[in-house]
Amino acid sequence: MEQNVTLRIDKHTVRVPAGTTVLDAARSVGIDIPTLCHIDLKELCIRSAPASCRVCVVEIEGFKKLMPACVTKCTEGMTVRTSTVRVLNARRTVVELILSDHANECLVCPKSGSCDLQSLAVRVNVRRIPYAGGAFSAQKHEMSPSIVRDMNKCVYCRRCETMCNEIQTVGALAAVNRGFESTVAPEGGRNLSDSECTYCGQCVAVCPVGALTEADHTERLLADLADPHKTVIVQTAPAVRAALGEEFGFEPGTSVTGRMAAALRQLGFAKVFDTDFAADLTVVEESAELLDRLVRFLGGDRSVCLPILTSCCPAWVNFFEHQFPDLPGFPSTARSPQQMFGSVAKNLWARQEGIRREELVVVSVMPCLAKKYECMRPEFGLGGDPDVNYSLTTRELARLIRRANIDFVRLPDEEFDAPLGASTGAGVIFGASGGVMEAALRTAYELRTGRELQRVEFETVRGLEGLKRATVDLDGFRLKIGVAHGLGNARRLLEEIRSGRSEYHAIEIMACPGGCIGGGGQPFHHGRGEVLRARMEALYREDRAKAVRKSHRNPSVVRLYGEWLGKPLSERARRLLHTRYFNRSE
C-alpha cells in the first residue's frame, strides 16, 4: 500500500509517493538540486547516498539546520526551499571547501570536460578559493595495469567504495584514516595491483572527478601507428559502437558502427577488424564445451562440472580467481573474444598475410578496463610477445579521434575489413547482459537438435534485472540457465555452486552493470541509468538488422575451422582458443 504525500518545493506543489526523497521530488517538477556524492542508477539497483558532500542541502521548515535533499524523505505538508540565499551561500562554501582540498589541475586533468566537480564549481559560481591550506598526506598516486589512482583529486564521495564493496562485493577499496586524512584506498597501504581488485573499473565509472581514471595507451598507439615497420590492426568490442557516439553528442543508444570503422581507418590502422568475429568464435567453442559436458553428464559421468560458467569477462575471471579458486572446473576454458581474436590474428592471419609476428601490433578498443590487464597476462602470448599488444577504452578512442582532427559526426559509414571483421547478430549482443547466453543458445540448440532454430530471440535473458533465469527446451532436455551482471549478483550464484545447491546447467556472468555496455571504459553515464538501457537496445537493434544471427553460420568462422582448426574443441582449437585459471586467493 503506497501512500502519497503533498509538499511544497519552492513555488511548486508536489504530490509524490511517501518515501520519495526531496531530491527526486524536486526533479519531478524541474528543480534540479545539484549533488556530488549521491548516485542512483535506479533500474540497476545501484545507489550510494551517504549524504556526506552536503552539496544538495536545502531549507526545510521545522528543521534548524540545512538538510540534504538526497536522503531526506518527503512528508505531508513539508515546505522546502532550494535556492534561498542561505542555501546558495552554504552550498558555495561547501564547494569552496572541496576545492580547497583538491588538486585543481583542470587544464591537465584527464577528466576535464566530464568532471562533475568542475561543472559544479561553475554552477555555484565559485570565483576564488578562499581557503588556502594544507593538503592531506596519505598515499596518493598509483598506476595499476588498468586503473590510475590520483588521490590528490579525491573528493571522498566514496561512490567507488560503494561500488567495490556493496555492488561488486570485491572489497578492494575501503575508507581509511580519519578526519582530514580520510581517503579511499586498498587496506593496509597496499596497491590495487596487490589487492583483490578485479579491474572491473566500476569505481572509475562512478568517480565524479579525476581521482580514478583509466591507464592511457593513446600515446603508445600514436607512436606505433607512425612506425613504418609496424602493421597495426584493431578490433572493436560490440559495446563500443553503442556508446562511442555519446562522446560526440549523439543521443545515448545511437549505433555508430560505420562511423567508427571510418574513423579507425582515418587514424591509420592497416586493418579495421571486429571483436564480434571472435565473439562468434567464442560462442562456437563455448557451445561445444557446454554440449560436451551435458552429454557426458547425461551419460552418467558425475565428475563433470555443471553449471558451466562463461569466461569472456576478464574482471569476472579475476574475481573468480581471487574469490572462488576452489571451483576450478566450472568456468568454460574458452578464451575471451579479445584474446581469441589476438590468437587468431597473430598465429593464423599474420601467417596467411605474410606478416612477421613481431611486426604486427594488435590493438583492441574495449568498453572495459580489465581488458587492459587481460592482454598483459603471460599465458596470452608467445615468447613475451602478447597476442593483443594493448587495449584502449571507448573514451580513449574518442580522445584520439578528436585529437586527430576527425569530425566524427560528418564521417560516412564504412565496413569492417575481411576476414576478421565479419560477424553475426549473435556476436553483437555479447555487449549486453544475457547476450552471450542468448548467442550460445542459438548455436547450442542447432548443434544439439540438428534442427534450425526459428525464433532466435530469448527475451527472458534480456534486460537489466540483476539475476535472470530461464529454462530452454533442447529436444526434451530442459536446460536451466542463469544470467548475472554485477559481481555481487554473480557471488550469489557462485555461493550456490559452492554449497552444491545450484540448479543451473549454464551461467553467464558479466562484471559490469548491464554487461559490457556499462563497462568501466565507456563514456561516463553521470548517474543516468537510462543511458545503459539505451545502449542495450542499440545492440539488439543491430542484431535484428544482421543477415546472419547465429555464430556458427558466420562464414569467416566456418572458413577458419575448415582451413585451420578442424572442429570445435579440436587439439588445435584448444591450444589457440582455450586457457586455464590460477588461484590468486593468497
Binding site: A51, S52, K65, N89, S100, Y131, G134, G179
Partner: protein, 592 residues
C-alpha cells in the same frame, strides 16, 4: 564501622589499593577485622585531594592519604577514637580543618542521584548494592508495572539524555517501544570521549549494578531482551567491574532467564570501542558495534526505528541510565521536583582547569555557574581572575562572567552559545588566550572528525588554519570575517551532532572575546601573553645592571650588551623561551 577508600581510577593511580591492604593489615593486627571493614569503593569525586578515605558512620573525611597513614588511622581513629587532624581537609577560606564531609563546601551544594552509590558501596559486591535498594526498582517494574507504566514514569520524571543532546529519555523509550520488530536492543553508551570528562567511568567503576538494573528496566519497557554496553577499551577497571557485576547479577537470578521468576529474560553483552571520539554519537556507535567504520549516518531513520543490525535500538548514556532505578523507587514526581522547568533532576560535572577543587560533582539542574565554580569548585587557582568556562566538551562554547549567574540547564546553556554536552567544565583564568583556547578545541575536532562530511572534514581544518594564522600574527580582518562565515556554514551543514557543534568554541569566543581576536589581528598582540609569535621581550634599561646572566643563558644569542651596561634583546633572534626572565635576578625583563 566501615572505612571507605576511594578506588576510582584516579585514586587507584595514587596507590589506594595499597591503602586498603595496609588498613586491613592494621585492622587484623588490632584484632578488629570482624568489627571494622575496609572497603574499596567507587569515586568520591574530590579528586583534587585524592586518595580519599572516609570513616562511616561519623563521616570523617581524610584527604591525600598515603599507604603509610593506614596504621595511624586504625590506631588513632578506630582504636583510639581520635581523629587524625593532619589528614583532615583544610578549608581554604579560613584554614580550619573540616572533619565531616557534610560541612565541606565541595559537598554542601551537591545532590548525588546518579552518583548516589559511588563512594558508598563496594562496587564488586552485589549485596551492598542490594542493601541500598538495588534491584528493587526492577522487581517493582517486573511484578507490579506494565511496560507502558514504566515508560510513563520515566516520561513524567522529565529525565533527559545526559550524553549531550538532552533528548527526553521517556520519549526515546516510547518511540522504540512502538517500533514493531522481532528483536530490539538496549544500548548503553559508555564511550565517554570528552577530554577531562569521567562521570560515566566513575559510575561504572563505582556503581555498575545501577547500569545493569536500568538496562533491564529499559528492556522491559521497550520490549528488548538483549542489552549491549559499548565501552572504551581504555577503561579497564570499569570493564572489569561491569563484568563482575554482570556475573554476580546472573548468579543471583537478577539477570538472565526469567528474572525474578517472571516471563522477562534479559542478557547483557559488552562491546569495546577503540577510542574514536565520534563513536559516542549514537549512529556512529551503532555502526562501530556492527563492525563497520565508526561514522554517523543521517537521522532519520533514528535508532529507535532502525538501529543496531537495522533493529529498533534504544541508546542511552551511562549517567542517564544511572538515574533510572532511583526514579522508579522514589517516583517521577520526586525527580521532577528537582531542577528547572524543562531540565529535571541533577547533572554530574567534571570540574577541571584553573579551579581549586578539581573533581566530579553532581548538582541539581538550575544551580548557577557561580555556585559551581566559586562554592563547590573553591574559586580560581592562585587568586587569579575568572575569564571563561568552557562547557560541553570540545564542541561546547565558552561562557563568560556575564553568564555566571545563569542557572545551568540544557536550554540555558544552548541559549548562551554553549551546551551541556556530557558535563565537562573547564575553567579559564586571565592567563588563558581565548583564541588559543578556541584553536585547542578545534584541533581536537580536526583530529577526531570521522572525515565523512565535507564541512567537518575540510571546514574544521580550514578553521584551524585560520586560527593558526591569527595566533601567529599573520591574519587580516578578512580572515576574521572568513572565520565567522565558515563557522556558520559548518554549523548549518555538517552531518552529525559532532560536526554541527564543532565550531562552537570559535563562534562563542568570537562573540564574547571579539576584542581579543582584533588585538591579535590588528595590533599583533596577545593580551593574555600566550601566543608566542606575538610577544616581545624587552629589558628595562633603568633596572638592568648589566650582569650578563641573561645574555650568557640565552639559547639564541638574542641578548646583547656590554658588562655593567643595560642589555638589549634583538627581537629578530629572540625565540621567546622565557629563559632570560627566569634567570634575571633584578626583574628587569618584561613581555609585551
Amino acid at each position: 564501622m566501615q572505612i571507605l577508600v576511594c578506588s576510582g581510577t584516579g585514586c587507584n593511580a595514587s596507590s589506594s589499593r595499597t591503602i586498603v591492604e595496609r588498613l586491613r593489615e592494621a585492622l587484623r593486627a588490632a584484632g578488629l577485622e570482624r568489627d571494622v571493614e575496609a572497603i574499596a569503593t567507587g569515586c568520591f569525586g574530590f579528586c583534587e585531594k585524592g586518595p580519599v578515605v572516609k570513616i562511616i558512620p561519623d563521616n570523617t573525611f581524610y584527604v591525600q592519604v598515603a599507604p603509610e597513614d593506614a596504621a595511624e588511622i586504625v590506631a588513632e581513629h578506630i582504636v583510639g577514637s581520635r581523629r587524625v587532624e593532619r589528614l583532615l581537609y583544610r578549608d581554604p577560606k579560613d584554614g580550619r580543618r573540616v572533619s565531616d564531609s557534610k560541612h565541606m563546601d565541595f559537598y554542601k551544594k551537591q545532590l548525588r542521584v546518579a552518583l548516589r552509590n559511588c563512594g558508598f558501596i563496594d562496587p564488586e559486591n552485589i549485596d551492598e548494592y542490594i542493601a541500598r535498594d538495588g534491584y528493587a526498582a526492577l522487581a517493582r517494574c517486573l511484578t507490579e508495572r506494565t511496560p507502558d507504566d514504566v515508560i510513563g514514569e520515566i516520561e513524567r520524571s522529565g529525565l533527559r539524555g545526559r550524553g549531550g543532546g538532552g533528548f527526553p529519555t521517556g520519549l526515546k523509550w516510547k518511540l522504540t517501544s512502538r517500533s514493531r520488530a522481532g528483536r530490539k536492543y538496549v544500548v548503553c553508551n559508555a564511550d565517554e570521549g570528552d577530554p577531562g570528562a569521567f562521570m560515566d567511568r566513575s559510575i561504572m567503576e563505582g556503581d555498575p549494578h545501577s547500569i545493569i538494573e536500568a538496562m533491564e528496566i529499559c528492556g522491559y519497557g521497550i520490549g528488548a531482551d538483549v542489552g549491549l554496553v559499548y565501552i572504551r577499551a581504555e577503561y579497564p577497571l570499569a570493564v572489569r567491574r561491569l563484568r563482575t557485576a554482570i556475573a554476580q547479577a546472573e548468579a543471583c537470578g537478577l539477570l538472565g532467564e526469567r528474572v525474578f521468576g517472571t516471563e522477562f529474560s534479559f542478557r547483557i553483552e559488552i562491546r569495546y570501542g577503540a577510542g574514536a571520539f565520534v563513536c559516542g554519537e549514537e549512529t556512529a556507535l551503532i555502526r562501530s558495534m556492527e563492525g563497520r567504520r565508526g561514522e554517523p549516518t543521517m537521522k532519520p531513520p533514528f535508532p529507535a526505528e532502525a538501529g543496531y543490525l537495522e533493529c529498533p535500538t534504544n541508546v542511552n548514556n551511562v549517567e542517564t541510565l544511572a538515574s533510572v532505578p532511583v526514579i522508579i523507587t522514589r517516583g517521577a514526581e520526586w525527580f521532577a521536583s528537582i531542577g528547572t522547568e524543562r531540565s529535571k533532576g541533577t547533572k554530574v560535572f567534571a570540574l577541571a582547569g584553573k579551579i581549586n577543587n578539581v573533581g566530579l560533582i553532581e548538582v541539581p539542574m538550575g544551580t548557577t555557574l557561580r555556585e559551581v565554580i566559586y562554592e563547590i569548585g573553591g574559586g580560581i587557582k592562585n587568586g587569579k581572575r575568572f575569564k571563561a568556562v568552557q562547557t560541553g566538551g570540545p564542541s561546547g562554547g565558552c561562557l563568560t562572567e556575564k553568564h555566571l549567574d545563569t542557572p545551568i540547564d540544557f536550554d540555558n546553556l544552548v541559549a548562551a552559545g554553549s551546551m551541556m554536552g556530557s558535563g565537562g567544565m573547564i575553567v579559564m583564568d586571565e592567563d588563558d588566550c581565548m583564541v588559543a583556547v578556541a584553536k585547542f578545541y578545534l584541533d581536537f575536532i580536526v583530529e577526531e572528525s570521522c572525515g565523512k562530511c565535507t564541512p567537518c572534514r575540510v571546514g574544521n581544518k580550514r578553521l584551524s588554519e585560520i586560527l593558526e594564522k591569527i595566533t601567529a600574527g599573520k591574519a587580516s580582518m578578512d580572515d576574521l570575517e572568513q572565520l565567522r562565515i565558515l563557522s556558520g556554514v559548518i554549523k548549518d551543514t555538517a552531518l552529525c551532532g559532532l560536526g554541527q557543534t564543532s565550531p562552537n568554541p570559535v563562534i562563542s569566543t568570537l562573540e564574547h572575546f571579539y576584542d581579543e581576536y582584533v588585538a591579535h589581528v590588528a595590533d599583533k598582540c596577545c593580551p593574555a601573553k600566550r601566543c608566542k609569535p606575538l610577544l616581545t621581550y624587552y629589558i628595562n634599561p633603568e633596572i638592568c645592571v648589566g650582569c650578563t646572566v641573561c645574555s650568557r643563558n640565552c639559547p639564541a644569542d638574542a641578548v646583547v650588551g656590554e658588562r655593567k651596561k643595560p642589555h638589549v634583546i634583538n627581537p629578530a633572534l629572540c625565540v621567546r623561551c622565557g629563559t632570560c626572565i627566569e634567570k634575571c635576578r633584578f626583574k628587569a625583563i618584561g613581555v609585551k
